[in-house]
Amino acid sequence: MIDLLGYGAFFMSSALIFGLIALGLNLQWGQTGLFNVGIAGFVAIGAYTSAILTTPETADRIGGFDWPILAGWLAAAVVTAAAAAFTGFATLRLKSDYLAITTFGVAVVVQLVALNAQSLTGGPFGVAFIPRPFASLQDQPALFNFINLAVIAAVTIAVYLALEHLARSPWGRVLKALREDERAAISLGKSARSYRIQAFAAGGAVMGLAGAVQAHFIGFIAPNGYLPTLTFQVWAMLMVGGSGSNRGAILGSVVVWAIWVGAGAFSAAVVPGDWQARAASLQIVAIGVMLCLILLWRPQGFFGPHGLFGKRRL
């Protein structure tokens, strides 16, 4: 029983980390309309920043500065926000497609750096021994799982409340105005480009923080944790939840992660060994088809304010 609860805590922790990334994406896409195809890259920037700063000193690579975990998380958010701000600065005066292409490029380059800058990132073997919060409790697995869940849930709730507050603040109202009538907002003296860069950077900060939280939750990172599949999962989560809604982003993450884990466990039990890799690719096909179907039939998602279970319906 306690094992099952422990697994439940582990599952929820993983799902809420996705929820955090989806919250960041919701600020960029749902509230500002900025298309980010390089989520995996921004998450990786956060994860590697915090990992390099907080790990104990190591001989074979730069870094290992032994910073406190919270400082690492803060730095992850700041560095990722800077990377996102630069991406936005370069592309947001152009048509929105250019941002999409550039973020795609960011993910490619981050992957490349993670793989090849061995002296900084540990190359294909990644960074190990990332300190875990409350590591002294590690010999009591169940308790440790729950403490982890509590930490991650606390971060998620804090970010959720901050984003909700931000959406209602004057700053958030300018974003809304830009979304609904760009010309009117510009005529009131609001610089569309500058507000969009700020929103893209803030969303990036949340993604970077999520990457750092995940790195410290698992204790180990490697380049193959940040493949395009990650980007894709987060998009599916936000679209299922309903873009524009922070609550939807979190609920969508839990639901899609449950489907993903469930489908994985199902195919592991049913599919013979030599077909496992193929079954895994079919899982991705299913999510891709699902994303397209949602775009066609339910672009508002399922859990947002306009969704199935929302207060008001369209």
């Binding site: 195809v37 370069a90 005066r93 999409a100 795609f104 490619v108 490349l112 999510i287 891709g288 775009l295």
Partner: protein, 302 residues
């Protein structure tokens, strides 16, 4: 510095350029950047491979032509593959893109192409597994042509094929009625409709040309390198960079952009090492976006 990089760069550049033609046409006519374009390449290559295998099963093994690594079945199969890839693009447009395009939000279409690309790629991994495969496992001797440069017969034929395809494309866009309609539609869709241009036909032509050229590029990558489900994804960033560098909507621009990127990549491999190759396209893309977002031959967007 060894001058061999010129040949390597011209060849990978012409492959990138062929793919970028489809991207630049989709962008300027259908108004969205198609993230599934790389997967058309991979599907074309695997489609061609399947037809080659089918021909092999029917008529037995055939001797390769002259010094080349392949025989007539591959040429036949490549044409079949181009038709199949064009059908794939048209079906995808009918099922997905056309419906979303009608709603008028171009960025939703981009997202759909992203979802479709993931599904198409993983479907290839499901059918053919992710391990690489080849049209031919033979090794070709490279012929020295002076200045320390060597080139294989396959590479020469691929370069010639690219030149023929690009010239044909250019003449088609400039001289044929359909080509003129496509250019008119890309410059001003509403005016094009007013003068009686059949929009559906323009859209169809765009998909067929883009997909067929993507298939041709995919088959060439298959002949010169290898066939993998991820081959299209790996070329996507260089192709986007080439289309933007050349100026969106310009066919010669896309090819020139491809050649510039191919040559810079090949030069960079010698200077900073092969592992950083993929970063070159990104660096060029950022430089173009910051300095001259309209590209070499592009017009300012209205």
């Amino acid at each position: 510095m060894n001058l061999q990089f010129i040949v390597d760069g011209l060849i990978s550049g012409s492959l990138i350029g062929l793919g970028a033609i489809g991207i630049t046409l989709t962008y300027s006519i259908l108004r969205f950047s198609n993230f599934a374009h790389g997967d058309f390449m991979a599907w074309g290559a695997y489609g061609t491979l399947s037809v080659v295998a089918a021909i092999g099963a029917l008529v037995g093994t055939t001797a390769p032509m002259g010094a080349l690594s392949f025989g007539w079945p591959l040429i036949l199969a490549a044409i079949a593959g181009m038709i199949m890839t064009a059908c794939l693009a048209l079906v995808l447009d009918w099922l997905l893109f056309a419906r979303l395009r009608d709603r008028g939000q171009s960025i939703i279409v981009v997202m759909a192409s992203f979802g479709a690309s993931m599904a198409l790629r993983s479907l290839l991994e499901f059918i053919f597994t992710s391990s690489p495969t080849y049209f031919s496992r033979g090794i070709q001797m490279a012929i020295p042509i002076g200045f320390g440069i060597r080139i294989t017969p396959d590479q020469m034929v691929m370069l010639a094929t690219t030149i023929i395809l690009v010239t044909a494309m250019h003449l088609f866009m400039q001289r044929s009625q359909t080509g003129r309609e496509m250019r008119a539609y890309s410059q001003n869709p509403s005016l094009a409709r007013v003068v009686g241009i059949d929009t559906a036909r323009v859209v169809r032509a765009t998909w067929i040309i883009g997909a067929a050229l993507a298939c041709a590029a995919g088959v060439m990558v298959g002949i010169l390198v290898q066939i993998r489900p991820l081959m299209g994804l790996d070329l996507l960033l260089p192709m986007f960079a080439a289309a933007i560098l050349g100026g969106i909507g310009s066919v010669p621009g896309a090819v020139l952009g491809g050649l510039i990127i191919g040559l810079s990549e090949a030069a960079a491999v010698q200077l900073i090492g092969a592992e950083w190759r993929a970063a070159i396209a990104f660096a060029i893309l950022m430089a173009v976006l910051l300095v001259r977002p309209t590209g070499l031959f592009g017009r300012a967007e209205r």
